[in-house]
């Protein structure tokens, strides 16, 4: 893909990413994330992974993010109050992240002269290719994934159901408070 387009998309992606971690309202974060995801999807398309790009948008943006949205609604999350404390952690965390970014980029650039792109076969990234890979070399992984999804489904339902044992998650202090007569536990 042309450099200008890449630059444009990269800028959007980074802006979106920062939007995720800097905004206070979870919904705004979510929107920013969705933006980034769409953007990454477009990048995929630009890299020749056409199918994957659209799959990315369908699965991530169309499904997973909406799931997040539901949860946010369900818990009725308002924007956080003023960020409190942990300044040290935030400071060093940001520095660490920046260092990581620097290291990785350096690594990627210095690893090898990555500039040249080997010519990709025709139909590269098409549904046919992907399907052929999935159902030949990666068949087992594919089947296992289906089982994983099933398990996740059951697990999610089991977890999110209202269970009386939920009190187990409370801190010991609270449990004691609960045990004390005439006390009310939120």
């Amino acid at each position: 893909m042309p450099l200008w387009l890449f630059t444009f998309l990269a800028v959007i992606a980074i802006v979106g990413a920062f939007g995720v971690i800097l905004q206070r309202s979870p919904v705004h974060c979510l929107l920013a994330l969705a933006l980034t995801l769409v953007d990454v999807g477009v990048l995929f398309v630009g890299l020749g992974a056409v199918t994957l790009g659209f799959l990315q948008i369908i699965i991530y943006v169309g499904a997973i993010m909406v799931l997040f949205l539901f949860v946010i609604w369900l818990l009725n999350l308002q924007s956080e109050a003023k960020p409190n404390g942990h300044l040290a952690l935030k400071f060093f965390g940001s520095i660490g992240a920046a260092a990581l970014a620097a290291e990785l980029s350096v690594f990627f650039f210095s690893a090898q002269p990555i500039s040249r792109v080997t010519s990709t076969p025709s139909g590269y990234g098409s549904v046919e290719d992907l399907a052929r890979m999935l159902f030949s070399d990666y068949l087992v992984a594919f089947e296992v994934t289906s089982i994983l999804l099933l398990a996740a489904l059951a697990g999610a339902i089991a977890l999110a159901r209202r269970v009386p044992g939920a009190a187990l998650l409370r801190a010991p202090a609270e449990i004691q408070r609960a045990a004390r007569p005439g006390s009310t536990v939120r």
């Binding site: 893909m1 450099l3 890449f6 990269a10 992606a13 980074i14 990413a17 995720v20 971690i21 979870p26 974060c29 980034t36 990454v40 990048l43 995929f44 890299l47 020749g48 992974a49 199918t51 994957l52 799959l55 990315q56 991530y60 499904a63 799931l67 997040f68 949860v71 369900l74 818990l75 999350l77 956080e80 960020p83 942990h86 952690l89 965390g93 660490g96 992240a97 990581l100 970014a101 990785l104 980029s105 990555i114 792109v117 080997t118 010519s119 590269y124 290719d129 890979m133 999935l134 070399d137 990666y138 994983l148 999804l149 996740a152 999610a156 977890l159 999110a160 939920a166 998650l169 801190a171």
Partner: protein, 101 residues
């Protein structure tokens, strides 16, 4: 001119780092979760880019699997968050310290 793959890698590195930062500096569990998704996507980008470079589909297939796993992970993770919220009535990572000594 066409973009060198290295740029894509660099971008994925930056996105990943941003995700890490979000993981570290945000208090809200859901947002931390989103940061994780962000990291996943950064890695996906790297996969696709490298796969493109060596001209093989394996990178894409792996990304495909990553997406599936991410879907499962999101479902379970969010379910956990819900039940967590039900019992603690907060999503502030500071107050969710059951692992505390």
């Amino acid at each position: 001119m066409t973009t060198p793959i290295g740029y894509f890698m660099a971008l994925s590195a930056v996105l990943f780092a941003i995700g890490v930062a979000g993981m570290l500096i945000r208090r809200n569990v859901i947002v931390m979760f989103m940061s994780i998704e962000l990291m996943l996507n950064a890695v996906n980008l790297a996969f696709v880019a490298l796969g493109r470079r060596v001209g093989s589909m394996d990178g894409q297939v792996i990304v495909f699997f990553v997406m599936t796993v991410a879907a499962a992970e999101a479902a379970v993770g969010l379910a956990i968050i819900i039940s967590l919220f039900r019992s603690r009535e907060t999503l502030n990572a500071d107050e969710l310290n059951l692992l505390r000594w």
